[in-house]
Symmetry: C2
């Protein structure tokens, strides 16, 4: 079975390496890519194609793992050459997935989303898949992948990932707002402790890490919320998602230039206080 990758960044190279070590026949094309990408590809005993066209014509499964902004462009480029099944595994919204897959002329497509981290879990990272050829993609589980079918409509796998990440971003925003108020009153430790009484074990650690990561990644979170708001607005007025997006925009404005990852959430609150005093 021939498995090809469009793009050869962290996701593609990690999955390719795992598939190779389990005996799969793996292909990619590195023409026009960076020297580093070429070196990685050559080191890992991959089959290298001369062009994306040749790659698309050779593979039983062609997995698109490019950067989100390139997902549509690459599917347009190879759409008429794809012989096997084309799977878009990029971190994109359901409507972008639909657009990308619409260019695959043979119609053999699936929309996939990685739940969790490829960096941490390697080939075993959980992948959800939906769309007309979702079931066929399960064949790759024989090489050690961890794929689950979640629906036969394109966009379902992406939507589940997006809704899940919207929920966790909302929790981070809620925690940040709640705990900042508590901190200003001098009762943040107690508030964390008594929320943990209902929310269960590990709450304090995860709360602190959510606040720090909200501050450090506020810009990206604000951008990602735009896609969530687009999705949720189809069925409701997305009050909570809009507030979450606005929250991260504001935090980015207030802590922008934080410089390093703080060790404690209180450092972030101190930075906010100092900035506000300077205003």
């Amino acid at each position: 079975m021939k498995i090809g990758f469009l793009g050869f960044g962290e996701v593609a190279s990690t999955l390719a390496e795992g598939l190779l070590s389990n005996g799969a026949d793996v292909f990619t094309c590195v023409e026009g890519r960076s020297l580093k990408t070429k070196e990685i590809a050559e080191e890992t005993a991959l089959n290298l194609c001369k062009s994306n066209q040749e790659l698309a014509e050779s593979c039983d499964f062609l997995i698109s793992a490019v950067t989100p902004s390139q997902a549509v462009k690459i599917s347009k480029e190879v759409g008429k050459y794809v012989k096997g099944i084309y799977i878009d595994i990029n971190n994109i919204s359901p409507s972008t997935a639909e657009e990308a897959l619409s260019h695959i002329e043979n119609g053999k497509t699936a929309d996939a989303s990685i739940i969790g981290s490829v960096r941490k879990n390697g080939l075993n990272a959980h992948i959800l898949v939906s769309g007309p050829c979702a079931k066929q993609f399960l064949e790759l589980n024989q090489y050690g992948m961890n794929i689950t079918v979640v629906g036969n409509e394109i966009g379902h796998a992406s939507a589940i990932k997006l809704l899940r990440s919207s929920f966790t971003k909302g929790i981070s925003a809620l925690l940040f707002e709640t705990l900042y108020s508590a901190y200003k009153m001098g009762i943040d430790e107690e508030t964390l402790e008594y929320i943990a009484e209902t929310e269960g074990g590990g709450f304090r650690e995860s709360a602190v890490s959510r606040i720090i990561s909200s501050a450090v990644h506020s810009r990206r979170r604000a951008e990602e919320m735009e896609e969530v708001i687009g999705l949720i607005s189809k069925n409701s007025d997305a009050k909570m998602s809009k507030a979450t997006g606005e929250f991260f925009k504001q935090i980015y404005g207030e802590i922008n230039g934080i410089g390093k990852r703080p060790e404690d959430y209180k450092e972030i609150f101190e930075i906010m206080d100092n900035k506000n005093r300077k205003k």
Copy 2:
């Protein structure tokens, strides 16, 4: 040690009964109260005072457990007669607690908040206490109460309870919005399942119960959020709290008249869909 209760509703009668059975000397006044309250008070071997003045003058600890709207009124009424320590255990905001306790002329006061449920846990319900006489209130733990000191400022105990309840209300609103979108796309079960992958065991059950209870109690939640917004607005612009409040107002508008407690969250979403179609 003489312990008195102002008010004799569920909280007071449950605590009084527990304290009595552990050998405390418990007082209340039932003048002008309903027949049912009088019967309960008489059945439980309480010491009955003729007036709130007599009660205030007799007790070492006087606990105010009235309805939230009566908290200030009752402290004004007894303020000049209180001989011992006055504890406000009502479900009120930090600023209302401050106002109520300002009427106690001897200044021996504490602000207490019940975390969790007296109905479920009886005398063992966890109670937080703050303010000048918080430490003295701990003496009641010898009769089986479960009191923890959280600060010496009036309002801290109430603030912790309010922030905690605001956080959990926010999670309910986030869940409702996320899951309603998922339901409309036909992927609600999958979305619940994959959020549970990160959020841990018991997530599905608690999520479903939060959605149902959000719908059933939407009006009260919207009202309670007003107090939270007042508190959080002192230190930030309370984006998430305001969205949570607006969310519950809207849900109340959409599902008002739900009639009975539904068995499944999908019944609520169906009701919303039917109402929206009729509009």
